[in-house]
Amino acid sequence: MTRETALDPNRSPATGRSLERLRVGFIPLVDCAPLVVARDLGFAEAEGLELDLVRETSWANIRDRIVLGHFDAAHMLAPMPLAARLGLGHLTAPILAPWVLNHGGNSIAISTALHDAGGAWGAVDDPAAAGRVLARLVVERAERGEEPLTFASVHPFSCHDQQLRHWFAAAGLDPDSDLRIVVVPPSYMVDAMAEGGVDGACVGAPWPSLSVEAGVGRILLTTGSIWPATPEKVLGVREVFAERRPEALAALLRALDRAGAWIEDPANRPDLAARLARPEIVGVPEALVMRALAGELRAGRDGAPVSVPGFLRFHGAGPHGAINRPRVADGLWLAAQMLRWGQVRDRDRAFAAARAAFAPATFDAVFGPPGAARDDETVRPFDGAPFDARDPGAWLDAHPRPVGRPG
């Protein structure tokens, strides 16, 4: 090793090669794991990358910083690239989702008071049963003239918001008039539930488990039971980044692929839980991270753990092929939800944004074409009709907004 090599901070001490630095924003949640593992275990460095991970406090900051180019890539809610392309609430910016970070990991937690009021809610994977109890409570409250129940999501353009709405609508409830949906940052959720500001929340791991441990909440449903096998977070990049730095992007995807394979090995879970629990990453007790990684949830503080196979998936094959491969079908599904709930009105524009954001071209260029063409494979929500991506408008026509209860 030459003297220059030894002194150059941008060179890898392991290989002596020059490292390309990428700034990547993340939010403290268990599903930031692939980014942390890619950095900590040298998978990024082996690809010639130095990952500078920057913890952010809001999804709005993540969006602003990727749009302005402060971040090269970011941990993003799957609907965010669509919202950015459609200019919803902010600058219009062409964001791509060249990699799906994970499937699942969200749960709906409710306050212990609401849980007690409902009685027998059913199993954590039975949204239909829980929906019937919820509908009965909503009607009873309205008849007594009480305020509607308030549920929290984490951002207006999130799977959390869409999963709550889907579950409400399947129970015959109008999410905008029969109930209230507000946003509460995950780290404030336990307090909001304890103070009675919210009756329930759809949030990513580990936060629902925190409400359980604090004795203020119960995990009611895992959202994988509402929407099985759909992308939860994606890696977001600007289109201009993908065009100008294709090698760096390909290297990042390869590093994430190796990180994902490492994460999926159950033997690595304790190590991963310890890494994610650190104060500079998620900053919660290791045991709670472990529950999410192992799919062993505790619905309430007393009571045995409930095993939820595939609760949080980071890598490997799903029902539609490799879970990390972006699928246009999934993008169209998310766009259909945004259309159904009135976040956007123009179907053609929304579907075009989905096709562009979730195009698998970059992924396929790096990892080779998929074995079988599965782009049109349907999404199967729990309540009946599957979503056929070849005709996304048909699903929308068949699923109008529920009509709110009179009064």
Partner: protein, 195 residues
């Protein structure tokens, strides 16, 4: 020209910074400035205040709360646009760099809002500079104390004079390409370990 009729809401959990900003806005002629230093019951309070402009620090996780509120039009009296002008990326960039986001009632003309944003960005930057200078002064003081302790340890253990102890620390720092304070810290730590 300053439009004094605008209601400006400042949401910042750092009361010192929001006080500095409020002072700047008042000096510039804006009389209707409301400050919130907690996000408790944020939605209800924003609805009551019904501001024309909301300024919020970027470190605040409640940005996502506000954005949801603007999506649901019946939760606010008037539609809200983010930032003053979507085409003015320089202004947006300056705001984000300074650590503040701005939400403006839709339709408010650029020239009415620009003085507010300019003032906010310059006050946020000034506050940041002050904080950094203060941090630096604190670090320098701590470093000086550390170097004094390391010198004392070397003088005692190696039986050298003060100048020689200092020269030894400096030479080591130069050879190892480290800061003097880092070498001093190593000496202090080693001395603690060795008893």
């Amino acid at each position: 020209m300053v439009d004094v009729s605008l209601t400006i809401l400042v949401i910042d959990e750092n009361p010192v910074r929001s006080a500095i900003l409020e002072e700047g806005l008042r000096e510039a002629g804006f009389t209707d400035v409301v400050r919130l230093d907690t996000t408790h019951e944020l939605l209800r309070r924003v609805y009551q205040i019904d501001p024309d402009v909301i300024l919020m620090d970027l470190a605040n996780p409640s940005r996502d709360v506000l954005e949801q509120m603007f999506q649901v039009s019946r939760m606010v009296k008037r539609p809200v646009a983010m930032f003053v002008d979507q085409s003015d990326t320089a202004m947006i960039e300056a705001s984000v760099d300074a650590g503040v986001s701005a939400y403006i009632v839709d339709g408010l003309r650029k020239e009415r809002v620009k003085p507010i944003l300019d003032m906010t960005v310059s006050r946020f930057n000034a506050f940041d500079r002050l904080t950094r200078e203060l941090d630096q002064a604190r670090t320098e003081l701590a470093d000086r104390k550390l170097i004094e302790r390391a010198k004392g340890i070397l003088m005692k253990s190696r039986g050298v004079a003060e100048e020689e102890a200092y020269a030894l620390l400096r030479k080591t720092a130069m050879n190892e390409k480290k800061k003097l304070s880092e070498i001093a810290q190593s000496v202090v730590t080693a001395a603690q370990l060795l008893g």
